[in-house]
């Protein structure tokens, strides 16, 4: 090991303290959401729950988990997220790669075109009619297809490809590989970090999608998770309800919290797995090895 001066130790320690503090600040609100989800509805209504659950109960979770339609949505979303992410990575890489090549003559003009799609947003009605006209209305494919290319992600990938060491590529080129082979068996395997990053970006958008199913799916059986859980927690009604008093421990707010936590868990679980691709020097190391 290399020496570490005292200054450096202090430096690293200070960083650790700051990051630790920030982590706590980042997590506190989630903690409060979690405690609300485990508290009884009436304490929550009295605004008494802060960081720890009060009048602890599993009722909100029980109610949510017992709903079969939730699980259907959950697995539907899981599958569309997986397929969508893979497809998106493929399409994005296949466009980002030529865009990073200077021999691709229309690359410059295409980039302007890509940036335009980022800055200018299509109005909702024409967008709806267009997507509908290609047959994606009331079609589960609408949960995937509109998400397979995102200009922002495309540009990020292109930036990475552009920084790819040219010598390595040229060497492979000499060996007679075509562009397709170059991309798939050479460039992509060495771009795990950016692939992991974009997998996360695409995955999260697919997982959290709300607008598309709202506008394009009418059959509630095909509702993905986010829109399904909205069904549990819609606006309060001014209208008094004449029903018998509910002997349950959940209410709108505890349910909302439970659903929020429920929907976050998978995303939280995924990140540490992707993180291993961010290891320093992953790319260069593998070339040499």
């Amino acid at each position: 090991m290399v020496f570490e001066s005292r200054g450096e130790k202090v430096f690293r320690f200070a960083i650790l303290i700051v990051l630790g503090l920030l982590s706590v600040i980042a997590l506190l609100p989630l903690l409060s959401v979690i405690s609300v989800s485990f508290s009884s509805g009436w304490v929550v209504d009295l605004n008494q729950v802060t960081i720890w659950p009060k009048a602890f109960t599993f009722d909100s979770w029980q109610y949510m988990i017992d709903r079969p339609d939730l699980w259907r949505s959950f697995f539907l979303t899981l599958i569309t997220t997986l397929i969508g992410t893979l497809l998106a990575l493929l399409v994005t890489a296949m466009l980002a790669y030529p865009l990073a090549k200077k021999e691709f003559m229309i690359g410059g003009i295409l980039m302007v075109g890509v940036v335009i799609t980022m800055v200018f947003k299509a109005p909702i009605v024409p967008y709806f009619l267009t997507v509908r006209s290609i047959g994606l209305y009331d079609n589960p494919l609408v949960l995937i297809v509109p998400h397979i290319l995102n200009p922002f992600n495309l540009i990020i990938m292109r930036t990475f490809f552009k920084q790819f060491p040219k010598e390595l590529e040229e060497a492979a080129f000499m060996e007679g590989s075509g562009y397709f082979r170059l991309l798939f068996s050479f460039v992509l395997p060495l771009s795990k970090a950016v692939l992991a990053t974009l997998a996360l970006f695409y995955g999260v958008v697919l997982w959290n999608q709300f607008q598309h199913p709202l506008f394009f799916i009418t059959d509630t059986d095909w509702y993905p998770l986010q829109i399904k859980i909205r069904q549990f927690i819609t606006d309060p009604n001014e209208m008094p309800f004449l029903a018998s008093r509910q002997e349950v421990n959940y209410n709108e707010r505890t349910l909302r919290s439970a659903t929020v936590v429920f929907a976050i868990i998978p995303v939280i679980l995924v990140y540490p797995f992707l993180q291993k691709y961010f290891v320093k020097g992953a790319m260069i190391g593998s070339v040499k090895g």
């Binding site: 800055v119 109005p123 552009k162």
Partner: protein
């Protein structure tokens, strides 16, 4: 105009200009296509996607020049020229809304943009793998709370019996209702934005850092560079292209402050500093289904955004190697 140093675009443009002059652009393109056809084939699905899902609907922006009615459709809705743009500019509070939008946009760009870079550099210094993972995960979690939820939490934190007032109470201060005081709105906007999205923003940088050749650090250490110096003279410069690109992308959405972000923090008492173009459009355009008007305002924002990207892109190409195109 174009610097000779910018290899991709610069050279291309020169080639194009030359070809144009000799009237051989099409032939040149065809030649290029024949020679590098796999690149074109590869790009095809992506291009088709952009055309279908972005450009065709984008053509629908012409409804900004119509009194669009969903019942009549694009063909039969009457054309009204720039009426909706006039409505926007004549709005009595237009100045206030525009100033608020620009100010919040500037604050967002200046204060919030650098944070993920700093965080990424700091996280990079953490040695212990598990601690590193923990910190990263913790920091990026807030991104998954929607603004409705975050808004609710923020209002709770600043309530009379909320955390904020409890803490300032320890120091002997009277409770302050921050959310109904226009002096604090901008700070709340920026801080909540950082709180929710800074951790998420580090991910790209972490990926970029991981692509840095370890040999560079080794040689820097040989030269006796401290950690701090390595961060400053190795990591940061190598991150620059990524930072630059992200900055350009960010600036393109300068006018987009996140409707949900602002809307969920806004109260009538903070309109004077927090009412922005997006919230104005929501009140007048979206709630009333005035699609033409909403589109007109959207175009106005996009045009400004595009001018900004274009300007900064040219600047960045002058001072450095990179740029979007």
């Amino acid at each position: 105009m174009t610097q000779g140093q910018t290899p991709t675009v610069g050279q291309l443009k020169q080639i194009i200009r030359k070809r144009l002059r000799s009237g051989r652009l099409v032939a040149g393109l065809l030649h290029n296509m024949r020679k590098y056809w796999p690149l074109y084939a590869m790009a095809l699905p992506g291009i088709a996607f952009l055309v279908i899902f972005k450009y065709v609907p984008l053509l629908g922006s012409v409804i900004a020049l119509q009194d669009y009615s969903v019942f009549r459709g694009l063909q039969d809705s009457p054309w009204v020229g720039f009426k909706h743009f006039e409505t926007l500019f004549r709005y009595p509070d237009f100045q206030r809304v525009l100033v608020n939008t620009l100010l919040l946009g500037a604050l967002k760009t200046i204060l919030a943009f650098p944070i993920p870079v700093m965080l990424a550099l700091m996280i990079n210094e953490v040695r212990h793998a598990l601690v590193k993972k923990g910190i990263q995960t913790a920091l990026y979690i807030p991104h998954f709370l929607s603004w409705v939820i975050v808004g609710g939490i923020v209002f709770d934190v600043f309530a009379i019996s909320g955390l904020f007032n409890i803490v300032i109470g320890w120091f002997g201060y009277d409770p302050v209702l921050v959310m109904q005081d226009s002096r604090f709105f901008r700070a709340v906007y920026v801080i909540t934005g950082i709180w929710r999205d800074a951790g998420w923003g580090t991910i790209v940088y972490m990926a970029a850092i991981s692509a840095i050749d370890p040999q560079l650090y080794e040689s820097a250490m040989m030269d006796g560079a401290s950690k701090w110096k390595q961060m400053l003279y190795v990591t940061l410069p190598l991150l620059m292209p990524t930072i630059l690109i992200l900055f350009l992308l960010d600036i393109g959405n300068f006018m987009e402050l996140g409707f949900d972000h602002v809307f969920n923090l806004l109260t009538p008492m903070t309109y004077s500093v927090g009412d922005i173009l997006d919230t104005y459009v929501f009140r007048t355009g979206i709630q009333q289904a005035q699609y033409s008007f909403a589109t007109a305002v959207g175009l106005f924002q996009s045009v400004i955004g595009f001018i900004l990207v274009h300007t900064f892109n040219r600047m960045s190409r002058k001072i450095s190697d990179g740029g979007l195109w």
